[in-house]
Structure formats: structure tokens, C-alpha cells
Amino acid sequence: MLKKKFTILDHELVPKHILLTKEEKKQLLEQLKIRPEQLPWIRASDPVAKLIGAKPGDIVKIVRKSPTAGEAIAYRFVVP
């Protein structure tokens, strides 16, 4: 029986992390009218950041399951 190998991305506690493209990043910063470092951070050494291949300077979109809103979207700026 072939079973999919478990990665930490499958864990219940880990929400979906999506790496933003350059255009999406620009669009987001314009929409929020902020500099990227004003977002919360995620370290490039973070296990999830490493798995999705995020490099310092990128922005990660996080789709959290929220007990109040059902689904909440957050962003984190990748720092070294």
C-alpha cells in the first residue's frame, strides 16, 4: 500500500502557507499602504518557510482556520 509521506504541512496546527508572486506582493503592499517589514515576520529558517522555499524578502500568505471568522487571511514577511 502506497501511503503519502507525512510532512509537517499536514499537521493540524499548521495552516496553509502560500508564497506570493512578485505581482501579488506589490499589489498587497499598495492595497495596505505599508512597507513589507510592517507585516508580522516569519524567519527563513522556519520549518514551514523552508519547505515552501521562502527566501528573505518574500511574503507568505497564510490561510488560518479561525474559530471566530471561519477563515482568516494573514501575511508574514520572510526575514533572515
Partner: protein, 412 residues
């Protein structure tokens, strides 16, 4: 016809259009309630209802400039005064001691390196969770067993420079260990030479017969006495099986809606250890392994998982004490703690101690030290925060005080 009634599909489509303006949970509730009466509604009615909901939702949102941190601090702090300072200790073999209440809350918010009672909860997968025998087998596989756990006595003979090890056969059988496994582990660690292995039967005080295995280990010649003592400790801590750090594993039973299933409760915590050995531990559900060590979660599963874990842990402590604190306050605390990508404590070595403003730091603790260091370094304070403006006696930047007016000269 203008008075066309809506179908369930139309309703879903209509709600979909508003998905950008309302959170998912509100849309889900709207759908649930509206679907009951959908056959009596016109499109315009539904639109009216949705627009009213959007209006109410926007009014319920917190306003820009609101001092949410202060509200959260008060909302968690006041019920916190009613928490018991007592840590609970359960006498008995099958129960584990857990830090709860205020001590545990402080532990989480102070982001202590390790909890005082590290605990893991390991859920089993669908195939295994109803099978008690399999759960117990897994528990034995996980539990960390060292030589110490199967030894009845150990002694050093300084004259002959040997260490005498007496193994308890009963304990070994209980842990599913054979003599070969023990000897293998011993020889792998290159501590002395195993001189002899003797098995004999001894009679205990109650007249029962007990099998005892004696292992004699010869030490290198001319070894110092202090080193011998150290070696004894090393022998005792040699790992025989299991995963490091997981001291006790208890199979727990849950009965819910006529179904009984099992999970493992572990004293000690080693998330990485279990994830590394998943191949050998068939039956464990790796997606639902939990630990109460927040730093471990941050290191293994990342900062977002740590944020969720902080919220879950704090809420479970508060709920267990019967305190009803809105989860949004706890979420704000967790967001702040994980803001920089690392878990920081609320307190002098974390959020309060790392504030950008000198005056804010000086107002918190050890005033002179902060002022002296700041003046030595030539720090500046732009007076952007609340505390520093209180210190200098200005309007604080909160609510309407946040608004600044700039006039552009020569503008139209």
C-alpha cells in the same frame, strides 16, 4: 415575472457574491438560517437581509485607533485574579501530574523554554484507535527505557575495577526486552569489557523465586575512582529502546457516543523524535500529535503552529478554571508573541523590554539603567507611542488622538 422566489442554489450564488465583504462564519450562518425560509423570499428580500447583515457587521468591527491591547490586558487580567494558585497533584500510578491554572498561564505567557510538566497527546489513526492491545504495544515502543529502568542494583568494586550490574528479569519481560538486547546496547557503547553474564534464581523474602541476571563489566586498567563513578552513571543512562525524553506512556480511554477509543498520553515531550521514527510507529496519527511545549512546536512545526498552540493552551487553561474570556483577546496576545517570527515572552525580556521607545522602556522597569544606556548611545525618541506621551504630558495617540494633520503648501 418580478416576484420570482429563490431556490437554494440561487441563495448560495447570491451569498458567494458577498464573500469578500463578510467572513466565512457569518456567511455560513446566513446560509443556514436563510435556507429554512428561502422558498418564501424574493431576490430583493435576500439582498436587503444581506446588506443589513453587512451593516451590522461593520458596526461591530473594532475602530481604528482603539486601544485593543489595554482591553485585552484587562479582559484576561481580571478573571486571572480568580484563578487558583494551587498546582494539582494526583496521587496514584495511572494519573500524570499537570501544571494548571495560574502557574501554567504564567509559563505560557513568559514563553518559558520548557514547561514544568511536559506532556504529549498522541492520537491514533482510524485503524488502530479502537484496539487496546495495539495501543499498548505502541506505548511500549515509544517509552524511553534505559538500563536504569531494568536494573535492580549496580555496584562498583574499586579493588578489581569492575562494575557489577544486576538486572531484574521481571522488569525486562514487562518492557519486552531480551538479555541480548541489553548486552548489545552495552557493548555498543564501548564501556569496558563484559566479563561474565550469570543467571541465577534467588528466593525473595516472601518465598517467591526470582530470576536475577548478573553482568560483570571490567573497566580499563588504572582508571581513576572518580571516573568509575561517572562511568556507572553512563551505564545507567544507556538507551535500550524508545524515544528520548518520553518517560511514561499511558493508554487513555475515551468513551463518546457509544464508541470507545484510545489515545496515548505521554509524560515528557519529543515531537521531532516521534516524527523521525514514524516508519516504526505505525498506527500513530502524525497530523494530530500535540505537545504542551510551545518552543518545541515553533521549532518543529513553525511559527504559525506555535501561534495556534498558544491560543489553544491559554484557552484551555482559562476554560478549565471556568473563566469565560473571549478568544479574540488571547489571539491578540498570541499574535504579539509571534510577531517577529520567534516566540517572545510578554515581559521584561520580550515585548515590554524590546520597545522602540526609551521612555516607554524606562517607565516599565529599571528606569535609570535604560535612561543611562540610551543617553550613552545617543538614542532618539520620536514620541510615537502611548507611554512616552504620558511621560511628557502630551495627548496620547489613541482613538481621535491618533489623527495628525499635515498641510501641503501651495496645494490646490
Amino acid at each position: 415575472m418580478k416576484t420570482k422566489k429563490m431556490s437554494l442554489e440561487d441563495l448560495k450564488k447570491k451569498l458567494e457574491e458577498y464573500s469578500a465583504e463578510l467572513p466565512k462564519s457569518v456567511i455560513a450562518r446566513l446560509e443556514e438560517k436563510l435556507s429554512e425560509i428561502v422558498d418564501r423570499l424574493k431576490v430583493s428580500d435576500v439582498e436587503k437581509i444581506i446588506n443589513e447583515v453587512i451593516k451590522q457587521y461593520r458596526e461591530a468591527l473594532i475602530e481604528p485607533g482603539e486601544a485593543v491591547g489595554t482591553i485585552s490586558a484587562q479582559s484576561i487580567g481580571e478573571p486571572g485574579t480568580q484563578m487558583t494558585l494551587r498546582t494539582f497533584h494526583f496521587a496514584g500510578v495511572r494519573e500524570l501530574n499537570v501544571t494548571l491554572g495560574l502557574p501554567r498561564l504564567i509559563e505560557i505567557l513568559d514563553a518559558k523554554r520548557a514547561p514544568s510538566t511536559p506532556l504529549m497527546r498522541i492520537e491514533l489513526d482510524e485503524k488502530t484507535k479502537y484496539d487496546k492491545a495495539k495501543a499498548e504495544e505502541l506505548a511500549r515502543k515509544i517509552q524511553h527505557v534505559t538500563i536504569e529502568n531494568v536494573t535492580s542494583s549496580i555496584s562498583i568494586d574499586f579493588g578489581q575495577q569492575i562494575i557489577l550490574l544486576q538486572l531484574d528479569e521481571e522488569l525486562m519481560r514487562d518492557k519486552r526486552l531480551t538479555l541480548d538486547m541489553v548486552i548489545n546496547a552495552l557493548s555498543k557503547h564501548k564501556i569496558g569489557v563484559i566479563e561474565s553474564v550469570i543467571e541465577r534464581v534467588e528466593e525473595t523474602s516472601e518465598g517467591k523465586k526470582k530470576k536475577i541476571i548478573e553482568i560483570t563489566i571490567a573497566m580499563p586498567e588504572g582508571i581513576e575512582a572518580t571516573k568509575l563513578v561517572k562511568l556507572r552513571q553512563k551505564i545507567l543512562s544507556i538507551k535500550l529502546k524508545g524515544i528520548k525524553g518520553l518517560k511514561r506512556v499511558v493508554v487513555k480511554e475515551v468513551s463518546k457516543e457509544g464508541e470507545t477509543y484510545y489515545y496515548l498520553e505521554v509524560e515528557g515531550s519529543n515531537l521531532q523524535g516521534i516524527l523521525n521514527n514514524l516508519d516504526e510507529l505505525e498506527g500513530i496519527d502524525p497530523t494530530r500529535i500535540m505537545t504542551n511545549n510551545i518552543h518545541e512546536i515553533a521549532a518543529v512545526l513553525g511559527i504559525e503552529a506555535a501561534r495556534t498552540a498558544i491560543i489553544n493552551e491559554v484557552m484551555s487553561v482559562l476554560r478549565e478554571q471556568g473563566l469565560d474570556v473571549d478568544i479574540r483577546h488571547v489571539m491578540l496576545v498570541a499574535d504579539l508573541m509571534t510577531m517577529t517570527g520567534k516566540v517572545r515572552q510578554i515581559g521584561r525580556h520580550g515585548i515590554s523590554g524590546e520597545k522602540a521607545s526609551v521612555l516607554a522602556r524606562a517607565a516599565f522597569e529599571v528606569t535609570t539603567k535604560h535612561l543611562l544606556e540610551a543617553s550613552a548611545r545617543g538614542e532618539e525618541d520620536p514620541l510615537a507611542g502611548v507611554i512616552e506621551n504620558v511621560v511628557v504630558g502630551q495627548l496620547i495617540p489613541i482613538g481621535s488622538g491618533m489623527v495628525e494633520l499635515r498641510i501641503k503648501r501651495g496645494g490646490e
